[in-house]
Symmetry: C2
Subunit: 193 residues, 2 copies
DNA sequence: CCTACCGATCGGTAGG
DNA sequence: CCTACCGATCGGTAGG
């Protein structure tokens, strides 16, 4: 059941789609207006600037990632389960907001200096949550004694690349199976010992 | 020993740096000229258009990736060694051309339609080379019977994310150690069995 | 939500 | 490699 979008919501969803396709800078307010079916000047009765759209997209995604990871943490005791649940939650946030996620990963560079530094510090905070869980797993003898930085980097690269190739309905596997494939590779590797 | 850059080479290296920082669309020919120390109009005695710069960056990187992977293949017999060498070669291409690599991964979207379809088909061809090696490893009982698509996806996401965080001189590990960490995670996973 | 419009900046060319 | 300049387009505002 599709709930009718308000004009403001429509501005965000159409922006996300265009920003994803063309990039933030190459998307004009006129092309946005055209897609919506109004004049460019009319957009400004709903939002204050082009940058505000980008801002709202980036920080609402950040909120979604934090909310998802917090829930995954409280719902799990065992470290491996916890990390798996965190990864699952992260991937779900991406595939449920695929255009916004692409903008989030691509276009945060175009935020104002102030917003950008807030953004990068939120991201560092988020990564730290994962890093703590990995380090907890190492202490408990569940995870190998690997360089934490590279484990985190590999983890996020795998998770975050999802937006590049995931296409709802096109990928044969559903989200659950997809997550299980990815975590399996990350947890156990591809080589038979 | 630094070899003096020709003006044309300088245009490419400064462009790569600016495209990486600001993105292709948000980089003006005037800011490029300013960085070089000439007038914007003077750039056009060395190159024909802004898009040609992007084109050359993207396709010279594609050439470098193909050359690297071909060498890795002929120099190795054993499948696991071969894949490891391919990954190493891939990462070296990235870290030796870090700005160009960032442009390659980010800004190919802004190529003309014609160049873009050539680009994506080259990329598919490249990925197929990896996929064949993975499938060879599965047949030989060296690699697990995992979904090949996800193995390739995880592999490239790990490799290609490198440009995001690698900073020459800043990352504590050298390239060789870095590659060994990443392949170790990908081959054997992070969990102790 | 529209018409009418602003100053700024864009990629690029002509001609030297 | 520069000066001088072009038409097009940009984000955004005033006023209704």
């Amino acid at each position: 059941m599709q709930v009718a979008e308000t004009r403001k919501e429509q501005i965000y969803s159409v922006s996300s789609k265009l920003f994803r396709e063309k990039g933030y800078s190459a998307t004009s307010m006129r092309s946005l207006a055209e897609q919506i079916g109004i004049e460019a000047a009319s957009i400004y009765s709903h939002i204050s600037s082009k940058e505000q759209i980008l801002n709202d997209i980036c920080f609402s995604m950040a909120d979604a990632f934090f909310a998802a990871v917090r829930q995954a943490i409280v719902e799990n005791e065992n470290v491996a389960d916890k990390l798996r649940a965190m990864m699952t939650a992260h991937i779900y946030v991406i595939i449920n907001n695929i255009d916004k996620a692409a903008v989030f990963f691509h276009d945060w560079r175009h935020l104002s200096e102030e917003a950008k530094s807030k953004f990068t510090s939120l991201r560092a905070e988020y990564e730290y949550i994962y890093r703590k869980v990995i380090s907890e797993g190492k202490e408990q003898g569940i995870f190998k004694q690997l360089n934490e930085k590279f484990v985190t980097l590999t983890l996020f690269s795998t998770l975050n690349w999802t937006y590049e190739w995931y296409k709802p309905g096109i990928t044969q596997l559903n989200a659950e199976e997809m997550v299980s494939e990815l975590t399996n590779i990350f947890f156990n590797g591809i080589v038979i010992n």
